[in-house]
């Protein structure tokens, strides 16, 4: 890969092997094979997270009452964030209720898949494998096209893409651009944004941790070995920063999904 080519340029300090910077290959963690399918670490953790999340949500909401118990109060706090500040603010008070289940599920799934990157047992974001963001994006993709076509009809949907009041000669160009936006750019950026953030963040943490261990174990002299201390601190700082990014990306994913749905639901362009 491209990064390993860079490694050759770094001077090999220390006695033995030179430092190997992380490559995308670190995300390939197969566990076992079932027929033609290889079950990876990320798939196993996705299943565990989804199972635990479902169980906890069912348990906390089972005995819902007007006077909430402690667990219900906690759940409502979590639930109200995507409901109020994403769904209601983006889609509008009239029609947002229909989309709250989808958006809350998306938010919680993306959030906990992301947070697996900072959880001490996994230390590997599930969404760092591109398949997971693609699957989540496919759901959003189908939903916002379906909602648009249901509301406006197929012809009306294409007509809706062109803002009113444009001079005639520019309409085909705008239509082409909007067509690319709706069918290619939107799903592509939605999936790649989540994937790219988690992928890059995990790589950076991996780089700092392995770099610190390399300095400590193979460093040439006490000075290079002492350099492992700031590198370790930097790794810790990056983990804290990553937790922020993981929350932010879950929010952004849900916010964009809501805004795509809102564009379909709202009457004005």
């Amino acid at each position: 890969m491209t990064l390993s080519a860079l490694a050759a340029t770094l001077p090999a300090s220390g006695g033995g092997e030179s430092y190997q910077p992380p490559t995308p290959a670190i995300f390939w963690q197969p566990l076992f094979e079932v027929g033609p399918i290889t079950v990876t670490n990320q798939m196993a953790w996705a299943a565990i997270i989804t199972g635990v999340l479902s169980l906890v949500l069912i348990m906390l909401s089972k005995n819902a009452s007007v006077v909430p118990s402690k667990g219900q109060w906690l759940l409502e706090g979590v639930y109200n964030f995507p409901r109020n500040s994403v769904a209601r603010d983006m889609i509008g008070t009239k029609e947002f209720k229909k989309y709250v289940p989808l958006l809350v599920t998306l938010f919680l799934m993306v959030l906990f898949y992301n947070l697996a990157g900072s959880f001490f047992l996994t230390m590997n974001p599930v969404t760092g494998k591109v398949g997971f963001p693609i699957a989540l994006t496919l759901v959003v993709y189908v939903v916002y096209h379906w909602v648009s076509i249901q509301k406006m009809g197929l012809g009306g949907y294409f007509k809706h893409m062109i803002p009113p009041g444009l001079p005639g000669w520019i309409v085909p160009f705008v239509f082409l651009l909007e067509l690319i936006t709706y069918f290619i750019t939107r799903p592509l950026t939605l999936a790649l944004r989540l994937f790219g953030n988690m992928f890059a963040g995990h790589m950076v943490i991996y780089l700092f941790v392995t770099g610190a261990f390399y300095f400590l174990l193979h460093g040439d002299g006490i000075l290079l070995q002492a350099l492992s201390v700031p590198t370790f601190i930097m790794a810790g700082v990056m983990v804290l920063f990553e937790i922020l990014v993981q929350f932010l990306q879950a929010f952004v994913f849900t916010l964009l999904a809501a805004s795509y749905i809102a564009a379909a639901v709202s009457d004005d362009h």
């Binding site: 990064l3 860079l6 340029t9 995308p24 983006m90 944004r193 790219g196 929010f251 916010l255 964009l256």
Partner: protein, 69 residues
């Protein structure tokens, strides 16, 4: 001096400049808006984060292309 490696990484560095400036401008405008009208914070926040996400997409394209090409 001989340098080996991939030009894709330099390409990624270049592609990150534009989004970096854009994200800075977006949050500068957001801070400006909140400073002038603190009660507009709730209204401005989703807009700012939406703009941030759209600008950031370009940097993400660069990152992905750096690995793909």
């Amino acid at each position: 001096m001989e340098i080996t490696g991939s030009l894709s990484l330099i390409g990624y560095g270049l592609s990150a400049i534009g989004p970096a400036i854009a994200v800075g401008l977006i949050f500068a405008a957001y801070i400006n808006g909140v400073a002038r009208q603190p009660e507009a914070r709730g209204l401005l926040q989703p807009i700012a984060i939406l703009g941030f996400a759209l600008a950031e997409a370009l940097a993400i394209f660069g990152l992905v292309l750096a690995f793909v090409l």
